[in-house]
């Protein structure tokens, strides 16, 4: 589904990505993990040409993005969804309008837009708050709006840049469930960049470890499932006590 051939990327004199080749298969959930500054986000952003590679070719769903005209690239991007760590919703648009804009950009048939937006919001469980503005939502809800927006045009691929890194553990589990749903029910190929091992291990089929702009290793794993996170106060105290006795302060 996604093929990178000898892709490299430099900023000024610093080479962030050093000739990486990578193949991501249709229908899988592919993880990219690595230390801060290893180049994992840049690698992801190359997959929809948010970052233009210095050398190499990037192929998504049979189209060579690097050789497309500007117009065709925009068209190709409409079938590559993307979500971000900080959600990047338009704060002055309602939940409904945030999803709608994605359909407008893709020239989705006007009459079917409303029902499609509602369908996507139902998929992420937010149809009841579609008139609210992002400022009124929790982080988890914002990320779900972003997912609804990203899947509105039935993309083949969903790129996730640290999708749960600004969320608490319980909300992280919720978002991972939604992403799993997007993969299983809609058949969307997912690429997740994260520095959180738990996130990667819970839903990915294959994982690439990036170090200093190079692939350190790629391994196939058995996703161990999303852990239900118990965050009651009682549980929090228990966890604190686990590392030795606790004095009541």
């Amino acid at each position: 589904m996604i093929q990178l051939h000898n892709v490299s990327k430099s900023y000024a004199n610093y080479q962030v990505i050093k000739s990486i080749s990578l193949a991501i298969h249709k229908g899988e959930i592919f993880g990219i993990i690595g230390a801060s500054g290893a180049g994992k986000s840049t690698l992801l952003r190359l997959m929809n040409l948010l970052e233009v590679p210095g050398t190499g070719e990037i192929e998504v769903d049979g189209r060579n993005l690097t050789s497309l005209s500007y117009k065709d690239l925009r068209k190709a991007r409409q079938s590559i969804g993307m979500i971000f760590q900080h959600f990047n919703l338009v704060a002055n648009k309602t939940v409904y309008e945030n999803v709608l804009v994605s359909l407008e950009l893709a020239r989705f048939p006007r009459r079917e837009r409303r029902s499609r937006v509602i369908e996507c919001l139902q998929f992420v469980g937010l149809e009841s708050i579609m008139e609210k503005y992002p400022a009124q939502l929790s982080g988890g809800q914002k990320q779900r709006v972003a997912i609804a927006r990203a899947i509105a045009n039935n993309p083949q691929v969903l790129l996730c840049d640290e999708p749960t890194s600004s969320l608490d553990p319980k909300t992280t589990a919720e978002i991972l469930h939604v992403l799993e749903d997007v993969n299983k029910r809609l058949g969307v190929t997912i690429v997740i960049v994260s520095h959180e091992m738990e996130v990667i291990k819970s839903i990915c089929n294959r994982v690439t470890v990036i170090e200093d702009g190079e692939i350190y290793d790629t391994v196939a794993i058995e996703p161990k499932g999303i852990q239900q996170i118990n965050n009651t106060s009682k549980r929090l105290v228990e966890q604190l006590k686990k590392d030795g006795e606790l004095d009541h302060a």
Partner: protein, 220 residues
């Protein structure tokens, strides 16, 4: 109603009308030309969608030069240009030329600043959804920056009123000119004070409206 205001009511209404024409045309120039120029200043910056050092530094230089002129000097300096455009350098219509030019320079800078406050991530999201430059501008940038654009325009309009008061030098008229000619030069201090009050009321109204509108449309 004070006697003096009734006595000069025709002149006062006429002056208010002249101020409205001068400020109104300046506002139009600010929106029709200043907004696109400001947007271009933003888009041609380093790292932005239409990055273009030549266009950016040229526009930036022109805007800076216009804004560094003492306004009175700009009016005089532009007289030959005004004559080409309007056919005369004297009168209210002629006065709108330098006013519009400063209006464009003034508002474009404020537009650029408002757009710079739009989170980079929002623009990235737009590009990742396949938005064209035009769509990024109208469906994302202006939507997200709209309260800043309104507040900037409010600030600009108040400056235009202030600039318009000196257009008496080219016979542009207006309340400021009236206050100077009748209030100051003819020693009718009370008349001058009334004119100042009228302008204070205008400015208050504009600021109040601008702030209220900006607040209502800001959902961030």
């Amino acid at each position: 109603m004070p006697e003096i205001l009734i006595q000069y009511r025709m002149e006062i209404w006429q002056s208010i009308g002249q101020t409205f024409v001068m400020v109104g045309i300046s506002i139009l120039a600010a929106i029709i030309i200043g907004l696109p120029v400001g947007t271009l200043l933003f888009l041609t910056r380093k790292g932005k969608m239409l990055e273009n050092p030549f266009v950016f530094s040229t526009l930036n230089l022109i805007v800076n030069i216009i804004r560094s002129f003492p306004f009175l000097l700009l009016v005089v300096f532009l007289i030959p240009f005004t004559r080409i455009i309007i056919g005369t350098a004297i009168g209210t219509a002629a006065a709108t030329v330098p006013l519009s030019i400063i209006a464009i320079a003034h508002y474009s800078r404020l537009v650029e600043q408002s757009l710079l406050e739009v989170p980079k991530g929002v623009i990235e999201a737009a590009i990742s959804m396949g938005a064209s430059v035009k769509e990024v501008i109208f469906k994302f940038l202006y939507v997200e920056a709209r309260s800043g654009l309104v507040l900037g325009l409010t600030t600009s309009i108040i400056s235009f009123i202030s600039y318009s008061t000196i257009m008496g030098v080219v016979g542009g008229g207006g309340i400021g000119d009236f206050a100077i000619r009748y209030g100051y030069q003819q020693f009718k201090t009370d008349l001058m004070i009334y004119m100042i009050i009228i302008m204070v009321v205008f400015v208050q109204l504009i600021q109040f409206t601008g702030t209220a509108v900006a607040k209502v449309i800001d959902k961030r």
